[in-house]
Subunit: 206 residues, 2 copies
DNA sequence: GCATGAAATTGACGTAACGTCATTTTTGTG
DNA sequence: CACAAAAATGACGTTACGTCAATTTCATGC
């Protein structure tokens, strides 16, 4: 019974590796927030950790890769939230609305730290092609395809529709963040109505 | 009468300055396409011109600023096209459709050169607020506000709606570019229908 | 425990890009 | 043609990059 299922790393090797990776990501998050992504250098990130410069390159090979890892982690955290929104939804409209609420809540929570303007630090650009981000895209696309199959939505190009949902969520979300305080539910209602019923739908309850 | 209205630069000074600026922008466009934006360096751009390194810094202070200038130029070229779409439109639906057609034509034309995948040619992070891009945003917003005022569209949050239009156009446009051959009219019909009538509208004629 | 080697860390180093600035060249003007 | 303002030049000091041989840390078998 000494070696139970090792879901989490137990050896010291594995543990420091995980800790270093986390330290780099945390430092990068901070540096991007303070200096902005463009101005930040690999050296700035390294200085934010206790590690030697060479060690950094055992984990990532560039600033871009660090950024990708941050984005990937964000997507990894968001995906189960999205999944639950799908599973708990009592209708298609309900699914759309709760998915948008979830996304808007997510970006609000993800941008609480002080620092540079949000646009300069790190993207919520779902465009990047990290594995987890593609998985999020597929999650969205499948939800929409299922809705079509169930007859909840008309037959449309699922890829275009997924792109439209994601693009709308991103831009409206960014605009929502610029307002204070951000009204998550109003934004979600707007987007849901727009997608379901077009401009007529978007005008509901506003 | 020696000095008539000098709309275009005539002095040699002004002329070489304009030419140098153009040379830098052209070189940058090529370099971004070949190496990708992230990998490109200021020196790479300089090597693509006949200029000395110091000269570059008389015109731009960084790679980011060059990209901004490229983006700004794109917006400057696009704005009159959008304006004409508005003026020539016979209905709101017609305006939306022709505006989207114009945008999709524009991005198709703007990405004809061979090289790296399009996503890599531009910065990942920067959400750019160049003057011309903001002008395009205002142009879109005003068109939508006018439509509301005329009763062509219901009363909605014009900023959110503009964001939704732009976000949708960007994402669907990017997806369209990934397909070959890109079907501009199909994409425009999809987006127009979606915005006007929601999912029901998006399903029309597909 | 202790020996042993694999794995990870370290930081100094050669390379390359950065941005500046004193100098030179070019252009407009009287 | 002379003179000053403007622009171009490229060498230079500085900073960041990414590598790698040396060193330290850890897991494993005895």
């Amino acid at each position: 019974m000494t070696d139970a299922l090792a879901l989490e790393p137990v050896g010291k090797r594995e543990k420091t590796k995980a800790a270093n990776r986390l330290a780099i990501l945390a430092a990068a998050r901070e540096v991007f927030a303070q200096l902005g992504y463009e101005a930040a250098t690999v050296r700035d990130i390294i200085r934010g950790t206790q590690l030697a410069s060479g060690t950094f390159y055992n984990y990532f090979k560039s600033k871009e890769e660090v950024y990708e890892a941050l984005a990937d982690d964000g997507a990894r955290r968001f995906r189960p939230i999205l999944r639950m929104a799908r599973e708990n939804a009592r209708s298609f409209e309900d699914y759309l609305h709760s998915a948008f609420v979830a996304y808007f809540q997510f970006i609000v929570a993800d941008n609480r730290t002080e620092g540079r303007p949000i646009d300069e630090r790190r993207p919520h650009v779902l465009r990047m092609d990290t594995p987890e981000m593609m998985a999020v895209y597929q999650e969205v696309r499948q939800s929409l395809e299922e809705a079509v199959a169930r007859g909840d939505a008309p037959r449309v190009d699922a890829d275009y529709l997924a792109c439209a949902c994601i693009g709308t969520a991103q831009e409206v979300g960014a605009e929502m963040l610029r307002r204070s305080p951000p009204d998550i539910d109003a934004a979600a209602r707007f987007v849901t109505g727009l997608l379901l019923n077009g401009l007529q739908g978007a005008a509901r309850k506003s």
